[in-house]
Amino acid sequence: MSDSQWIDQLYANDLLSESSNMVQKLAKRYNRNSNKVPQPKQTLKVALLSGFTIDFLADLLPLMFFRHGFVIELYKGGYGDIVSDLLISKSKLHEFKPDLVIVLPTHRDLVFFPSLGSTHGEYTTALQEELAVWQSVWNSVSIPIIQLSFDPPSNRPLGELDGYVAGGLLDYVRQINRLLVDNAPTHVGFIDAEYMAFRVGLDKWHDPHLYQMSKQPFSFDVLPVLSHTIAARSQGMMARGRKVLILDLDNTLWGGVIGDDGLEGIVLGLETAEGEAFTAFQQYIKELANRGVVLAVCSKNDIDIAIQVFHHHSGMVLHENDITHFEVNFEDKVTNIQRIAKVLNVGLDSLVFVDDNPVERAWVEGQLRDVLVVNLPNDPADYIMALDELNAFCVRKITNEDLGRNQSYQARNEIIKLEKTDNAMSIFLQNLQSELVIEQFGDSTLDRVIQLLGKTNQFNLTQKCYSIEELQDKSVDVIIVRLRDRTQDYGIVSVVVTKLNEEYLEIDNWVMSCRVFSRRLEYAIQEILIRKSKQAGCQFIYLKHQVTDKNGLLTNIIRDIGYDDLGSNKYKMDVENEHKSIDHYMKITTELV
């Protein structure tokens, strides 16, 4: 492979369909020559702990993390040392100070497996003791842990009963996995080993020959998908999963070309075999939308003709209002995708692009490397799996905000239309009857607060992320803001982390979801900050704007809400002064626990 060839391969969207050998080779190239490749800005210290030989897997991780937007520094735990490495506070692991711990046990690491003929009581005790070991491991750190659930064994001494009776190892694996997931604290996320093993096939998952030689329990063929999944899950745990799915129309959502074939001519719906495949694909996309993935359309078509399919075709599962934004025109797709990113206020690294046309895909892939381009196979029946196996939309947890996401983007599109006239805007905002609710910091809000601080790009003052402990520290006051209006509850949309000093209040970070931009929410929050500052007897509020290529919009906002520019991106407000402020039309309330 020449330099340009292997560098292109690093970004290839079909890497997972390559042989394990090829992926291992590419990973080694990357490990030796990462200086030849533009490196992601986000760095991550990752500790890898396992009961088996992890060297081959570890070789692949830098490449897979690179593909998910991270440069990693890797710590490899000693063979068979998962528990002690974490529990001993002075271990090398803790000296390393990881940002993320990956824990890979196998069913061989189960300690309390009850023998055949155990009573119900003994069986339950065994499960509880197993759980207790892991609880102590989880509680030893507060940084994110990604854990492989226990994998199914290769053989079943109890035959068909093995998976269902006490004393069957497969049964025990199933039970303990469920118990662990149900009891895991919020900083622990799982990779589903049972699913992965049946996805690759149990014969491939287990490799007794290789295990006997090297103590690696699964075949080399498992390495690419396992390392990919670890990186995808990590991206989700760090709240950096992708958020937007951009769809082509002709031959992607339906068969045929609407402009040529017409409403009657396109293939879609349960009446034909091929039409059913497109319907199933739409169904899958709808499920993604239901869990918070934002949908947009980018198609070379006449919008008036294309929209007819949404309005009148009985085979359509997706409706016009499932799509947050349409770019349907004959312009270049790169331009259109950039426009979609702008309208939705997200970075290109939040986007996934689906198009049946290989030429369009190659063009977008070459021009916009941050966009994940799905390598759609020829047969529409295979579309779903091509998208599904990428695991592109990983999240730490599905939050209530995820469930209402598509609706709120639609409200925002309405606002963008209205913004053109100031007066109309005021009337519109007034009609919304918005209510800003200050939430309490606690278990129910923790996940969302961390998600918001981690994944906000534009309205993100300092890029600072926090551990749970840092947020709970006494010197820190976290203001958590929920927004609701006549139409819906947007959930928690803004977080301000403040530090109180003797004479002034300092804003350590402030993030706001782009779904609620242009609602004048920042004015209402500033009002809260002023109030807090006065209550504490502080005359000044200070903040520093850590400028990145994504948060430039804050420069104007900070001035608009009344701060004085001190130079070098520092700002100050004297809360005793009168501030000209525009009406935000928001009712401010505090949620009491």
């Binding site: 050998n21 080779k25 190239r29 060297d55 020959h209 030689m213 090297s214």
Partner: protein
């Protein structure tokens, strides 16, 4: 399969694993001559030979071989 053919296939496997197309094996080549030939790559070598020649090997048998010449002989015997 003739020893010459075995050596050629073996050479391809080495080129692949060590990501070095300039690597040329002779009967006298030993692990000392190839810098990255460690215990992990040894395992990869065994697995790749098994795949390429469609055989099963025992790591015990491979680990006592002194050079590539002996390895070719051993493979030839297992292939039969």
């Amino acid at each position: 399969m003739e020893n010459k053919e075995i050596l050629k296939t073996l050479n391809d496997i080495f080129n692949d694993i060590f990501d070095d197309d300039l690597l040329i094996l002779t009967s006298n080549t030993t692990a000392e001559d190839i810098e990255e030939w460690d215990s992990l790559n040894q395992i990869k070598l065994i697995i790749e030979c098994e795949r390429a020649f469609n055989i099963r090997l025992k790591s015990r048998d491979i680990n006592i071989l002194d050079n590539i010449g002996e390895m070719v002989e051993h493979l030839s015997k297992v292939i039969g």
